[in-house]
């Protein structure tokens, strides 16, 4: 599709993207997560998306909380700075980093425990601010790293390996994100390469908070009969909202689309997101509609995936702060220390 590498590979040379890097340049350390863990597949998709979008790895910062999911930034993009922070509080660290350097591309990786339990406070406030950041929840319905307790995204009635039944309703992080002000919200599945890739690439093009809840089965603690976050359950119940194609700004649109069946969203950077409707009247620019469709999915027991809501035109938190264009982090002394006269004026007012 549209995001194939631009430079023609010569037989002896490895394939490169539009900034001349190979996919190896986006690799990370060897994963220490369990074989088959959904989180590993998400790392793969991130590598691909960043490579295909031609993002300079040096511009990316990876931020995470604590959990198996939060360890995963060590397994992709070694050429990007990374900060494995404390449990549930990655949003504040990410916010600080973006305040310091608005030119960074921030990628936050969290888990369902990290986000929906201990981190729910920072999560909701992050969503409200529409800070430019890609926030990914690698959602397996359990605390993997502490060996399989229920998290707050576990569905009502789902069963732990030990036989314990979850008797509390789940928190829908997508519904929350939309309600609170995130401007790009979707759900995907670690096993759906095509959908997840397209969403990630569009996320990179988005200006504002991206919230992606990616169902990512934990093969060790939550992939059994009775779990609603197992590979099998998700495959059986996946209800896909739309077919998503993404055309980056540096490529020509080569496929005609029919406005009757496809929604076209022009992203902030000029990229195009084409959503071929599988549900007749679903409009991803309608917040209320999105929230009600999510509620309906809960009622029906569907694992609804796709892009639920997008609005590329909302000013971000950084826009609202009205900062200078250069990163605050590296402003020279002449710009951050007012003059001797300024001090004298301040003193005079106090005499």
């Amino acid at each position: 599709m549209a995001t194939t590498p631009t430079s023609e590979p010569r037989s002896s040379e490895p394939k490169t993207n539009r900034i001349g890097l190979t996919v190896i340049d986006y690799k990370g350390g060897k994963t220490t997560l369990c074989a088959g863990c959904g989180h590993n597949a998400i790392s793969e998709r991130i590598i691909e998306a960043m490579y295909e979008m031609g993002v300079s790895p040096e511009r990316v910062v990876k931020l995470s909380g604590i959990g198996c999911s939060s360890k995963s930034p060590a397994y992709f993009m070694n050429r990007s700075h990374s900060f494995n922070a404390v449990h549930g509080r990655m949003p504040s660290v990410a916010s600080g980093a973006m305040l310091a350097n608005r030119n960074l591309l921030a990628l936050g990786v969290s888990g369902d425990g990290d986000t929906a339990s201990i981190g729910i406070g920072q999560f909701v406030h992050l969503m409200r601010r529409n800070l430019p950041l890609i926030y990914i929840i690698e959602d397996n319905g359990v605390y993997g790293l502490t060996k399989g307790q229920f998290s707050a995204t576990a569905d009502l009635g789902s069963k732990l390996k030990t036989g314990v039944i979850n008797d509390l309703p789940p928190i829908d992080t997508c519904g929350l994100a939309i309600e609170l002000g995130a401007t790009f919200v979707g759900r995907s599945f670690s096993g759906d390469k095509k959908q997840l890739s397209a969403l990630l690439k569009a996320a990179i093009a988005h200006h504002g908070t991206v919230m992606l809840d990616v169902v990512s089965p934990c093969v060790t603690f939550n992939d059994h009969e009775g779990s609603t976050k197992s590979y099998k359950y998700v495959k059986d119940h996946d209800e896909i909202l739309q077919e998503i194609s993404f055309v980056p700004h540096f490529e020509e649109i080569d496929v005609e689309y029919d406005p009757g069946t496809t929604v076209n969203v022009t992203m902030h950077d000029g990229s195009h997101l084409q959503l071929r409707k599988l549900e007749e009247d679903y409009d991803p620019t309608d917040r209320i509609g999105a929230i009600s469709r999510l509620a309906e999915a809960h009622e029906k027991g569907e694992v609804l995936t796709g892009l639920f809501y997008v609005n590329p035109k909302v000013p971000t938190f950084l826009d609202m702060l009205n900062m200078v264009d250069e990163p605050l982090a590296t402003l020279p002394e002449s710009l951050v220390r007012p003059s001797r006269e300024a001090l004298e004026a301040a003193m005079e007012e106090l005499r």
Binding site: D25, G29, S56, P57, E58, R59, V61, L63, P73, A74, N78, R79, S80, H81, S82, F83, N84, A85, V86, R89, P91, S92, V93, A94, S95, G96, A97, M98, L99, A100, N101, N103, L104, G121, Q122, H125, L321, N322, M323, V324, D325, P327, L328, A329, T330, L331, E333, L335, V336, R337, P338, R340, A342, L343, A346, M347, L350, R351
Partner: protein, 618 residues
């Protein structure tokens, strides 16, 4: 009823008329909060200051928005003592609720100014009483009934001015400054003050002993509170990211900073060279500070004890991950509700070791508004030099009260950003190991996210990493790293602000036998107490004022040179003394004695003098 009322006989009142006590008194105004008395008190304070008399103002206020008792104390002192004075010499009793207690607690000979209907003169016969018919006077100058409550307070300003001989010209100047942008309000308040002045002149007979006379000890000086001084200091220190969550007594630090930054740190293009964010709580506030510090900003937050407790987990991460940041702790009394609006030095021990694991932090301890200004720069420089959090331990007394000071000096040293490798450095070096101790000072080199070099990135995490910042759970990697962190802390000893040492006046070149160690706002009470101890008991003392943790060489020497060392502080458990014990040679620790002050009021000299002289067997 007679308006002036002096007891005909007894020890106090009768003789007072003849005694003249000049430029040495404390005036206390007892009101309820929300009554608008703050402007009146500021006007009084400024007028005395403008007459060249050293002065300080302390607000003792409740944790409440309106209707609870508040006391504002102005101390004028020709010798420059500006700490709290225990005794009140002149009471302005405006609060019917507390008037009786306020009057009963005065020492004989004090003066009381009261609202006529309160009839306080019946309570005692050893005080000087002046009554004022406020409502009548206010009605005459303020036709608008709803403004009268506020204007009433300006009437006592006029009365006090007349009785103490504060010049009306200076009162007018102070009122014009106070209401600089509101000419109408200024005129109204001026009329009220004048009405009070005229009334006192016509109807009150001066019997008290207290007078203000012009002198020349305030020329060129400024009046400012510690939080505003800190705000200015941080702005001139090049701070770029500020996060906060409102909490008394720290809120005004950031609120003032917002004003200053808007004035001085927005360029001609209207763009700000800073970001100030009100976070959702203190966990987020410090998380943002750490994120910003990691990405290269000079970042800070300001809070008080409860916020410090919440920041604990993150403080440990920052210590291990080696991220710079500045945290102002404007200390107050323990958990709410109750006394959150009272001062204390109770966060020393918990902040020194804030967090889990083996953590310890640099603390700077300002005692004055000018140190709030200068230590702001020290704090940012040290935080970046040592890639760690630096806590500035102010307190409510310093932060929220008005202090007289010499004007602040423009920073003489450039901003120091610490060991940060640029793209050019990396081009030259080829790569780097984030946590390697190349220089023997325990401090590694870091890079900032966004540095455009393939070898710039490193992975930041808590406890488990080797010197190349790769994940490691190896015992030797952990231990080596912790030892290096310790070396870094040891290096910091010789870079933090040194203590200030004052020898006893009569000790000559040798040392006094007795030493005093204090820090922060305890300084003011201690300085005055040392003079009292000398003149009243013949006790000569040397004095060391701590300005930072870790302790420097001088602190050890000081204890070594004295037989007994009194550690004066505003907490129950002698927190700084405990820290000193951890640092000193075991045989020296027995020399330390605790003088604790913990009633939530700023430390006064008399309490120290009483306790120390008793402990010395005098």
């Amino acid at each position: 009823m007679s308006t002036t009322n002096v007891a005909p006989q007894g020890t106090g009142g009768g003789q007072l008329g003849r005694k003249r006590i000049v430029n040495d008194m404390s005036i206390q105004v007892a009101t309820v909060n929300g009554s608008g008395s703050q402007s009146s008190n500021t006007v009084l304070l400024r007028a005395i200051f403008q007459m060249g008399v050293p002065v300080s103002g302390k607000n003792l206020f409740p944790s409440n928005i309106a209707g609870l008792p508040t006391w504002y104390t102005i101390r004028a002192n020709k010798d420059g003592y500006i700490g709290r004075k225990k005794e009140i010499d002149f009471l302005v009793a405006m609060n019917p609720e507390t008037a009786q207690d306020d009057v009963m607690s005065l020492a004989p000979g004090a003066s009381v100014l009261y609202d006529e209907p309160l009839a306080l003169d019946r309570l005692r016969n050893d005080l000087v009483f002046y009554s004022v018919p406020y409502d009548k006077l206010v009605a005459a100058v303020c036709p608008e009934a709803k403004l009268r409550k506020l204007v009433k307070n300006m009437v006592y300003v006029g009365v006090v001015a007349q009785l103490l001989e504060i010049e009306m010209g200076e009162i007018e100047k102070a009122i014009r400054k106070q209401f600089a942008k509101k000419a109408k309000a200024a005129n109204l308040n001026l009329a009220a003050a004048q009405a009070g002045f005229d009334y006192a002149k016509a109807s009150l007979q001066k019997r008290g002993a207290f007078y203000i006379e012009r002198m020349d000890k305030t020329a060129g000086k400024i009046i400012i509170d510690g939080n505003s001084a800190a705000a200015l200091g941080c702005m001139f220190a090049g701070c770029t990211v500020v996060t906060w969550y409102p909490i008394t007594p720290s809120s005004s630090l950031v609120e003032t900073m917002i004003e200053y930054m808007k004035e001085y740190r927005i360029g001609p293009d209207g763009k700000a060279t800073f970001a100030i964010v009100q976070a959702e709580d203190e966990l987020a506030a410090i998380g943002m500070v750490i994120g910003a510090g990691w990405a290269g900003a000079r970042s800070m937050t300001a809070t008080a004890g409860p916020g410090i407790s919440l920041m604990s987990e993150f403080a440990g991460l920052a210590y291990y991950a080696e991220v710079p940041g500045v945290i102002w702790d404007i200390q107050r009394v323990g958990p709410s509700t109750g006394l959150p609006t009272r001062t204390s030095q109770g966060d020393i021990l918990s902040t020194a070791f804030l967090s889990h694991g083996d953590t310890k932090h640099i603390m700077l301890i300002p005692c004055s508004v000018s140190e709030c200004f200068s230590m702001a720069q020290d704090a940012f420089n040290l935080a970046e030099q040592f890639q760690t959090l630096v806590f500035v331990m102010s307190d409510l007394d310093l932060g929220m009260n008005n202090w007289m000071s010499d004007p602040f000096e423009y920073p003489t040293t450039p901003i120091k950003r610490g060991k940060v490798l640029s793209k050019a450095d990396l081009d030259r070096l080829g790569g780097f190991a984030r946590y390697k101790d190349l220089d023997g000072d325990g401090v590694g080199y870091r890079t900032l996210p966004g540095t455009d070099h393939p070898a710039a990135a490193y992975f930041t995490r808590g406890s488990g990493h080797n010197d190349k910042s790769s994940y490691s759970e190896r015992p030797d990697d952990y231990e080596n790293n912790m030892e290096r962190l310790n070396r870094k802390f040891e290096t910091a000893r010789s870079f933090v602000p040194r203590p200030e040492i004052q020898k006893g006046i009569n000790a000559g070149s040798s040392n006094a036998k007795i030493g005093i160690i204090a820090y922060g706002t305890s300084h003011w009470g201690v300085t005055e107490s040392r003079d009292q101890l000398r003149s009243e008991y013949g006790i000569e003392t040397d004095y060391l004022r701590l300005r930072a943790y870790p302790f420097t060489r001088e602190v050890h020497d000081f204890v070594e040179q004295h037989d007994r060392v009194y550690v004066v502080e505003q907490n129950r458990d002698a927190q700084m003394l405990s820290l000193l014990k951890l640092d000193l040679k075991p045989e020296l620790t027995t020399r330390l004695r605790a003088i604790a002050h913990l009633d939530g009021l700023p430390l006064d000299a008399r309490s120290v003098t009483d306790e120390l002289s008793t402990m010395e067997g005098k």
